[in-house]
């Protein structure tokens, strides 16, 4: 028996075991997945949960129900990976041996990494929405909020779902408007990037959208600390931004065991070949989803595209062949913009998000980088796609490779 071990049963881990169980004969391959969680959350739902658009029921499902027959689910957390010995050690000391290892432990928000962030103001006037508990706490805070300075803040890139902080800014703005208190709220969007987003064309479009909503952008801002007494954030270059409500995306890091194993970079993301997702250090170790250091978005859609390709590569590898299905960094993101509208962006390692149209079967061509009602409906529909098509690894008729079809490059870019 050969042993495939997967760490993490989030989006990428669940797709991995669903797809590979179908491809690897049970008589030859044992597949095990390790995760301490009871519930698997649909994380994009946290955003809607925070602004009262979703009830908690819409967000999670029991993890065990998502794992196919013939895959062992071990409910435990990994303490250490010893890639030179081909073993994994669980927090209770149990040792699991493997022939091939797939790391799918995603990224975790780490408010403990910024002085003052997770202190006495945490879940009081300092909030986030990157975990289930954070989203619920923010929802309760927003319900009672009567006005003041709202600061939406990104600590450092990369973060998972890099558009989510923009979305919470848009949705909070719409929420305050609906409650009739928009004029009592000053909103600021604070980012380490030089503008609203990373790539020029999208940054301009999204920056305009912030401007129209009277949300001031504070760019190039690298936070040093949260001052709990002054109720302000301070950057390394001494810019002080006071807040009544800080909604922050804390530093995102990979699992600590990745750092200890020597497989990772300084943020504990696994160093991989960006085309094959194979560890740069050990040929029998891969990382998928948010856990890698591949220079593309950390997003569920990216995990999906990666896993259209990785299983094929894996079959080639174990057959002693060259891996030929090269990932191009393809990412597709719906951006909820409030008031029942949304935007769609599509890009890759080499091509920045551009305007134009994107073919989606059934729903029809979606407008790229433009606010439409259809894009909002697409985002809502994505929850069903996630549970019933994406996680089970069913066929979704969208190419894993980025295509220029329908895209336009604006003059001067």
């Amino acid at each position: 028996m050969r042993r495939l071990l997967v760490i993490g049963a989030g989006t990428a881990g669940v797709i991995t075991v669903n797809k590979l169980r179908k491809k690897l004969p049970r008589s030859e391959w044992e597949i095990t997945v390790v995760d301490p969680a009871d519930t698997h959350d649909y994380q994009p739902g946290y955003l809607f949960l925070a602004v009262g658009m979703y009830t908690p029921k819409k967000v999670g499902r029991p993890l065990a129900k998502l794992i196919p027959r013939g895959v062992n689910l071990v409910k435990a957390a990994v303490q250490d990976v010893k890639p030179a010995e081909n073993v994994v050690v669980l927090t209770d000391g149990t040792v699991l041996a493997y022939d091939y290892l797939v790391i799918a432990t995603g990224t975790t928000p780490r408010p403990d990494q910024t002085p003052g962030m997770d202190g006495k103001l945490w879940h009081d006037s300092v909030h986030s929405f990157y975990t289930y508990a954070d989203a619920l706490a923010l929802r309760d805070k927003l319900e009672k909020f009567e006005g003041g300075k709202v600061v939406v803040h990104v600590t450092e890139m990369p973060i998972k779902c890099p558009v989510a902080p923009l979305e919470i800014a848009f949705l909070a703005e719409a929420y305050f408007t609906k409650r009739g208190i928009r004029d009592k709220v000053q909103m600021t969007y604070v980012t380490p990037l030089p503008g609203a987003f990373t790539k020029p064309v999208a940054a301009a479009a999204l920056g305009d959208m912030l401007g129209k909503r009277r949300i001031t952008v504070e760019p190039d801002y690298i936070i040093e600390r949260v001052d709990e007494d002054a109720k302000a954030i301070f950057s390394y270059d001494e810019r002080e931004i006071p807040f009544d409500l800080l909604v922050t995306i804390p530093l995102n890091m990979g699992a600590d065991f990745i750092g200890r194993s020597g497989l990772g970079d300084e943020l504990n993301f696994v160093s991989v070949n960006k085309e094959t997702l194979q560890s740069t250090k050990f040929a029998n170790v891969f990382a998928v989803g948010d856990a890698t250091n591949a220079p593309t978005s950390k997003a569920g859609a990216v995990a999906h595209y990666e896993l259209d390709l990785f299983p094929k590569n894996f079959l080639q590898l174990i057959a002693g062949k060259e891996m030929t299905h090269k990932f191009d960094g393809h990412a597709t993101c719906f951006v909820e913009s409030g008031h029942g509208k949304g935007l769609l962006i599509d890009f890759s390692y080499d091509v920045e998000p551009l305007p134009g149209s994107f073919p989606i079967p059934v729903l029809g061509p979606m407008r790229l980088l433009k606010e439409t009602r259809l894009n909002h409906l697409g985002k809502l529909a994505f929850r069903f796609v996630y549970w019933w098509l994406l996680l089970p690894g069913r066929y979704i008729p969208i190419s894993p490779y980025m295509s220029m079809r329908g895209k336009r490059r604006p003059a001067g870019n």
């Binding site: 890139m157 990369p158 030089p194 990373t198 690298i222 040093e224 270059d237 220079p295």
Partner: protein, 104 residues
């Protein structure tokens, strides 16, 4: 790729003036690049630039401010003092390395 004449030689640059060929750089050029953006180089500055050059050679990507802190041992605060306002960009520019990848 456009080229630019600096100190009497032709070097390859991108549209923001970042050098694109690792081997076209030397300290003299570094000093010239620093002058362009108003940074007066001291020993401390050169130590940071040397780290960035060495790290790029082994990693193939330009170090982030976090990496310059965690691996190079130069605290972020110091990076801001030496290369005010936009340390990541300025360090890469002077070191003749690609602009740090704006993470997506």
């Amino acid at each position: 790729m456009p080229t630019q004449d600096m100190l009497g030689r032709e070097v390859h640059v991108d549209d923001e003036g970042f050098l694109t060929e690792y081997d076209e750089w030397d300290e003299k050029l570094g000093a010239e690049l620093a002058k362009n953006i108003g940074v007066a180089m001291t020993d401390e500055h050169w130590k940071v630039i040397t780290f960035l050059r060495t790290d790029y050679k082994s990693q193939g990507t330009t170090a982030t401010t976090r990496r310059v802190d965690a691996v190079g041992g130069f605290p972020v605060k110091l990076q801001f003092q030496l290369f005010p306002a936009k340390p990541a960009k300025k360090m890469a520019y002077i070191a003749g390395l690609p602009k740090p990848a704006g993470c997506v």
